[in-house]
Amino acid sequence: MRRAFNGQPLLWLLSPAALLLAWALAANSGAFPVQLLVPPQAVYHSFTELLVSGELREHLVASLSRLGLGFGIGAVAGMAFGTAMALSRNVEAFCGPLFHCVRQIPSIALIPMFILFFGVDDVFKVLIVTKAAFFPVALAACEGVRAIPRAYFEVASLYRLPLRSLLTEVALPAAAPTLLTGLRIGLSRAWMVLVATELLAGDIGLGQLIEMSRQMLRIDLVMVGVLLIGLIGFCLEGGFHLLEKRLLRWKPL
């Protein structure tokens, strides 16, 4: 699949184009009520309207800043906690079972409780996003650090590497492949759960755009929101893949 992708750079456009065509044909055929199956050109029109009015920008800024803040806190805390768990038997003994138990709770299942505690505003949304990012990142950091071969540390000790070099030039790169995968999964989960929190509560954000538009029966705007969410998630993950490829270019393919 990767090879086809590389050899024929535009081939991937085929399936979205086919989907768009099918959508346009179905919507314009008159077989479905226009309020329910809005034609693509109407969705595009609504999109440009939202864009020009600046409303879209507000929703985007709200969603992305919640994501950035929540993911940032969750990722940093996850890396710290995961590393501590990998290195210290005590941390593992005291926190391991609790960690692995809470990890099983879907972030969405925590939404009602978090609303009770923190209200429906940004604090609750950021905290849910933090939780969604924290666990995959912590798990990856723990496993990544634990899997560093002892041989690497032996070489480091033979050459009396200073602690700083040991951490940044040996331990971090050795754990990086696992860690980056965890970060990517964490980012993707954080994005999804953020949309869910915005659907349920609040006044601004992409999820809220969808929910408000639904209440007003503006399916065109719902579609704008849905498509944007998919597109942003795709870009986040794609960007992260590029970053991974760049950072891990030393790896044999």
Binding site: A151, V155, S157, L158, Y159, S165, P252
Partner: protein
Amino acid sequence: MTAIAPPIPPLALDTPGALSIRGLNKHYPIDGRRLPVLQHIDLQVQPGEFIAIVGASGCGKSTLLRLIAGLETDYEGQMQLDGKPIRGPSLDRGMVFQDHRLFPWKTVFDNIALALKHSRLDKAHVAARVNEHIALVGLQGFEHAYPHQLSGGMAQRAAIARALITQPKLLLLDEPFGALDALTRVRMQQELQRLWIQQRSTMIMVTHDVEEALYLGDRVIVLEPRPGRIRHVIEVGLAHPRERNAARLQSLRQEILGQLLSQAGH
């Protein structure tokens, strides 16, 4: 005690690299019991000497090298390098492993340069020394290659350059060519001999290849398994560089193989 024909000119008294091991015992705890791995090892290595160690697998060759390197610190007995007790790793003892142990995320240049991190040299000096050692092992043009882009022999050359760049008094080699094909191995043996004659540092090499041991070693030490003990010390007594099929090497080879095979039934 000394070689029949000293392979290298007599060394000045202050030449470093004299290793002294007395009454060395090593146990590993297995299932709550103390399993003896090395028993009563006595070995005096002269500065600049090349010692080859052969023995059945599992007889403690790697353990012995790891003890000398300071990677294992729990032992009984005395080990001294130039009169200083061995308590842990130090830059005056270098080690090359069977797997090259280069860091896969670093280029050849950076892998070798890492060995100089401790010495805090400035960048220009590091670059000069690294390039000099890259040339020494014949890896020019591969400075910026990652380990996975190298052949096994090239990776091992890089590992040797990394071990030599700190100018250790004693270089330990644990089956360094064991994973290479026969032709590459022969070439690497010649290279190592050339380096050894150039550097004059003491070298101890573990190998399972008796020919390799005889080709390179001033003395060949035959270990006996369970627990690891020194069974024989053979003075090769030929000057370097050697003729591979010299009659003396052939007869010594038969002798050593005979000793190793007689252990097998035991």
